[in-house]
């Protein structure tokens, strides 16, 4: 057991990306998440953020990430305002920067931003005084997802150093995949991405990333498999989904009992069989459970109260 780092020593104002976080910093987030999840009484941390107002600005529809951030902020005692942007009048004719500056003036201290454009969280950090947590920007990053994935994997496998993790699916359009590549790589795991050419294009040039062109190659020897949601609206007919569907038989090529992760929501029967998604190898439920404590840890560290 390592000694926890002193309170208030987190070196970053924002969480825009996993890239740039050291191994020690990643471990610190995960350790703190475990501490918060296991805390007794369960409401032990409920006044940590009592002076904070957390604004949720989701420009893209989201249920699990938004709810998870809201529960995390409330569990730490923060006031939470949800702009409810998708489908509201906010943003009508108003630029992102103007909306966020207004939010800042109303007293919001921490912004949780999801936006369809890569780099939107960087823009928010550069143009406002808000503390910014990226809850997904375009196809770029989804850092808290990668953190909860790392925690889930660590709990299932132990230390990740030297482990082989296969990420299967439309990697090119996946912010989850990009953030996992950074997180897993920093934690010492080997990362292999796999998909038909259009789904992995460009990743062969990413230092440290291995690319497999068949599902079988990707699964061979994998210690864990992360399968991504197939965006059927992105031209489903371009890909032979049957060739890329994760099923019990194909999982036989992976390491014995290798766990399966999926950022959700799943298309059961498309990228993964229902049996597998709901079977003993599946960590999908555990990923969701880890979402709240990981986001609590991030909120507390950025606020300098942990």
């Amino acid at each position: 057991m390592t000694l926890a780092a002193p309170v208030g020593t987190w070196a970053h104002r924002h969480l825009l990306d996993v890239e740039g976080l050291s191994r020690e910093e990643l471990e610190r987030i995960l350790d703190l998440a475990v501490e918060m999840r296991e805390a007794r009484p369960a409401r032990a941390h409920r006044s940590l953020l009592e002076n904070e107002i957390v604004g949720l600005a989701f420009y893209e529809a989201s249920t699990r990430t938004r709810v998870s951030f809201e529960l995390a902020a409330r569990a730490l005692g923060a006031t939470v305002v949800d702009l409810g942007i998708a489908g509201s009048s906010v943003g009508k004719g108003e630029s992102l920067v103007d909306t966020l500056r207004t939010l800042e003036r109303t007293g919001v201290t921490t912004l949780v931003l999801r936006h369809g454009s890569s780099g939107a969280a960087h823009l928010a950090a550069r143009t406002t005084g808000l503390r910014v947590i990226n809850a997904g920007d375009g196809t770029h990053a989804h850092p808290t997802q990668a953190l909860l994935d790392a925690l889930t994997l660590r709990e299932a496998l132990g230390p990740l150093a030297g482990r082989l993790v296969a990420i299967v699916g439309d990697v090119a359009h996946s912010r989850v995949a990009r953030s996992n590549i950074h997180a897993l790589g920093t934690l010492g795991a080997r990362v292999q991405v796999a998909g038909p050419p259009g789904w992995v294009s460009g990743f062969d040039a990413w230092p440290g990333v291995e690319v497999a062109t068949t599902l079988e190659d990707a699964l061979h020897g994998a210690d864990a498999v992360m399968t991504l949601r197939i965006q059927l609206e992105r031209g489903a007919g371009l890909v032979d989904h049957a060739a890329w569907r994760l099923d019990e038989e194909r999982m036989g090529m992976a390491a014995p009992n290798a766990p399966i992760l999926h950022p959700g929501p799943t298309n059961e029967g498309i990228e993964i069989t229902a049996d597998l998604a709901n079977g003993p190898r599946s960590l999908i439920g555990r990923q969701v459970e880890n979402g709240v404590p990981v986001r609590m840890a991030v909120l507390a560290l950025l606020a300098g109260v942990a």
Partner: protein, 446 residues
């Protein structure tokens, strides 16, 4: 920063002696330290005592710069730029001529619009030459009134912002232009092939999660147009080339004697796709990311900033003469069009006031020699539009005087442009223009 003073082409002609400056004149290969005398706007051999003497020690004097690619945003550009402010930016950058692109609102697509834009430029701080649209309404469907616009003074034709979409239309335009002796100025880009790319395709785009712009989107149009220029014998000028492959195509076309010229922008020479990720190192330096600078909308430009390899290949094209001109593609935008997510940012950056400085940074790094830089900024682009540039006695004084070693900080408050959309803002660059003389008139002094 010393105080800036601006003049106009309608001012009285200048008389002065610039003493002991390094004179670089590509017209006769001069590169020597000597005095340069100007009387009533003409370069003369000598002047009597008592004439104003300007200390030229440590300064360089060259023919006035000629920008083949400027967006002055008038009419219709609102507060981003006007002919007046853009011409001042030009003068402050050492330019004595700018060529205004016609993608204004409405576009400069007929003789009256070309004549009007030329007329309103008469009292500006530099010559403004006008490029007319290549197609009617810049709509890419039918050949524009090229003869009419040529009669009104257009120096070339372009649908800049877009390529002429079909080869058949390019052929029609080139056939009409061949007897006029004026070039089609082509923005070489197949937008379908570009696929909505917002930065150069490559590992940086992959990591940033931005849609990559593939080099074939440019090369394919370059090859198509060169074939048609060869077929028609007309002149083709390719704007803002950003790939080594395009440059190679131009190199081959020139070797075969076709009438093909090309320009490269300072930002495609000195900046790279790593700038989108937050680097602020020049193409000839190792990239180094700075926190907080990633996804800066001011780095969005079309064609996108090049890969490091391509930027260095373009630089080599200046040294070997394949690149005819450094042209700025000065593209002013109001701040709100840049303060948006990267993929929503309006493409383009201002360049008139930083072109020389970026060139001098390359010279200081040993990537370019000063006479080649001067020729690419002055005499060679001028020749493409039929203007002469020489510092010989008897010629009209048209020149730039700059201190190549003095440094300045790029700051919105010192820029003469009405806009400040450049990622160079806040950086310190070499090269301060001291004097610009356009058509015998002092247009800028600092």
């Amino acid at each position: 920063m010393t105080r800036a003073w601006f003049g106009r082409l309608t001012d009285a002609p200048a008389t002065f002696i610039l003493a002991g400056a390094r004179v670089i004149d590509p017209s006769d290969g001069t590169d020597a330290v000597r005095d340069l005398a100007v009387r009533d706007g003409m370069i003369v051999d000598a002047l009597p005592d008592g004439t104003e003497r300007i200390h030229g020690r440590g300064l360089v004097v060259t023919p006035g710069f000629c920008d083949l690619h400027t967006h002055l945003r008038e009419p219709g550009g609102g507060s981003a730029e006007t002919i007046e402010s853009g011409a001042r930016a030009a003068a402050r950058g050492g330019f004595t001529t700018v060529c205004a692109m016609p993608n204004t609102d409405p576009p400069l697509d007929d003789a009256a619009a070309v004549a009007d834009a030329s007329g309103r430029s008469g009292s500006a701080a530099c010559r403004v030459r006008v490029i007319g649209t290549a197609t009617r309404g810049r709509a890419g469907r039918t050949v524009g009134d090229l003869v009419g616009m040529a009669g009104a003074g257009a120096i070339g034709f372009s649908d800049d912002g877009n390529a002429v979409p079909s080869g058949d239309l390019v052929r029609g335009i080139l056939r009409a232009l061949a007897p006029l002796g004026l070039p089609l100025i082509e923005h070489a880009e197949d937008t379908m092939l570009a696929g909505g790319g917002v930065m150069r395709a490559g590992v940086i785009a992959t990591r940033l999660g931005l849609v990559g712009w593939p080099p074939p989107a440019e090369v394919e149009v370059v090859e198509r147009d060169i074939a048609l220029a060869a077929e028609t014998g007309a002149r083709l000028h390719l704007t803002h080339l950003s790939t080594a492959a395009s440059l190679e195509a131009v190199r081959r076309a020139k070797a075969r004697g076709h009438h093909v010229t090309c320009e490269v922008t300072p930002h495609h020479l000195a900046l790279t796709d790593a700038w989108v990720a937050g680097s602020r190192r020049f193409a000839w330096e190792e990239p180094e990311l700075t926190d907080g600078l990633a996804y800066d909308g001011r780095c969005r430009v079309n064609p996108p900033l090049a890969s490091r390899d391509d930027a260095l290949a373009l630089m080599a094209g200046i040294a070997d003469g394949t690149v005819d001109a450094i042209a700025t593609d000065h593209a002013p935008h109001s701040p709100e069009r840049k303060l948006v997510p990267f993929d929503e940012a309006a493409p383009g950056l201002i360049g008139l006031e930083t072109a020389l400085s970026l060139g001098l940074a390359a010279v200081a790094a040993g990537r370019l020699d000063l006479p080649a830089l001067v020729a690419a900024l002055s005499s060679r682009p001028a020749a493409i539009i039929g203007e002469e540039r020489t510092l010989r006695a008897g010629a009209p004084a048209d020149l730039a005087v700059f201190d190549p070693d003095a440094r300045w900080r790029v700051d919105a408050s010192v820029l003469a442009s009405a806009s400040a959309n450049t990622p160079l803002l806040g950086m310190e660059l070499p090269g301060v223009v001291r004097l610009t003389v356009s058509d015998g008139r002092l247009t800028y002094r600092s």
